[in-house]
Symmetry: C2
Subunit: 216 residues, 2 copies
């Protein structure tokens, strides 16, 4: 990840609780390993990726790798969970700063697309998890959908959006964001994100807005 250094304060999760680093230095090492793993798996894919290149990218010894992970599979699993958490951490503050549920979903979409433009490797890694680590793939999407659904339920309870299954809507919004991210983040990059999120945000706003009595 190009801005991995900016995440130095996060407490990265090890593959197993008994491998959680106990010192600030250990947390920095684990963070460096996960960021290096994102670069390595993102560039070469799981099968071509090598532990020796992950440690070289991270600037740590092979021994340090095995302090936190037993295998390439284990660091991949930890990385998918790390990326999944990171998406939540990036979108969360953008959403929390908005005045209502509709603005929040629009702001979350915008922040997600900006994030994808700078972290295109996320798509290859998450998509490869479907084949390399299906449980993590599923956990990423069910976890992300659950976060969105919780926001929508709270918004509906406040009367900021119309009534309707939060789960179905969460999967719909997540799919919309993932594919807009693929088209305008991973494959594209020159398109004006204001224009993209203006159109897609209107679809969300009108799609979820409270209904007038005549529309129900």
């Amino acid at each position: 990840m190009s801005d991995g250094a900016a995440d130095g304060d996060r407490s990265p999760l090890a593959a197993r609780p008994d491998k959680t680093p106990k010192t600030a230095r250990g947390r920095r090492t684990l963070r460096a390993l996960l960021d290096a793993a994102a670069g390595e798996f993102g560039d070469r894919g799981f099968h071509e990726a090598a532990i020796s290149r992950i440690t070289a990218r991270a600037g740590v010894s092979i021994g340090s790798f095995y302090t936190y992970f037993d295998s390439k599979e284990e660091v991949f699993t930890a990385l998918v969970r790390d990326l999944s958490d990171r998406v939540g951490e990036v979108v969360g503050p953008a959403v929390a700063g908005e005045r209502d549920g509709l603005s929040a979903e629009r702001a979350g979409q915008r922040r997600y697309l900006e994030f994808v433009r700078h972290h295109k490797e996320i798509y290859r890694i998450i998509d490869e998890a479907e084949f390399v680590d299906p449980a993590s793939y599923r956990a990423h999407y069910t976890g992300t959908a659950a976060r969105i659904a919780a926001r929508l339920e709270a918004s509906a309870a406040r009367g900021e959006i119309s009534a309707g299954s939060a789960e179905v809507r969460a999967w719909a919004l997540m799919g919309m964001n993932v594919f807009l991210g693929l088209r305008y983040g991973v494959w594209g990059g020159a398109e004006d994100l204001d224009a993209v999120t203006g159109v897609a945000g209107d679809l969300i706003s009108h799609g979820l807005a409270p209904r007038s009595p005549s529309e129900r």
Copy 2:
């Protein structure tokens, strides 16, 4: 594909124009090979799939395989194009039978989700194309988005939906449908599709409906 026999009348496309079958019997053989390939790649994935098992599933000789394809890579590429065409052929009539653009997108979504429930293998095959055959992966989504965008442009020209970038909306709707298909088609199966498409369809209808002057 479990209902491959029902497609006996389609003219399947060979990997190369010079390999296009010239007889009805040849078309049936090619169709059987593509349906068998869908089963084999869907069950075992690209790397574990074997040409000998594709021909055994199809009930044809190895020689027949090489009449139409030079390699496992070539049949995979032909299959992804075949599945992509098939999605269009399945959704097309559902969309065409509707009275306006909004009903058409709702009907297309419903038909797509029903189709996915009976053809779960499509997801694994298309998703694996990202790694095995990236050009086909991209062609599938850009082609599908182009079909949706063309419908939306026509609907907007008739005043049945509000104005807005057909491309952005097409990627948004496609992503919505793909993820609802993953959740309620591939992973689920017990959920009431009427309930799912009721909620998701309302999101589409309200999201795209013509705006009253005060909403513009």
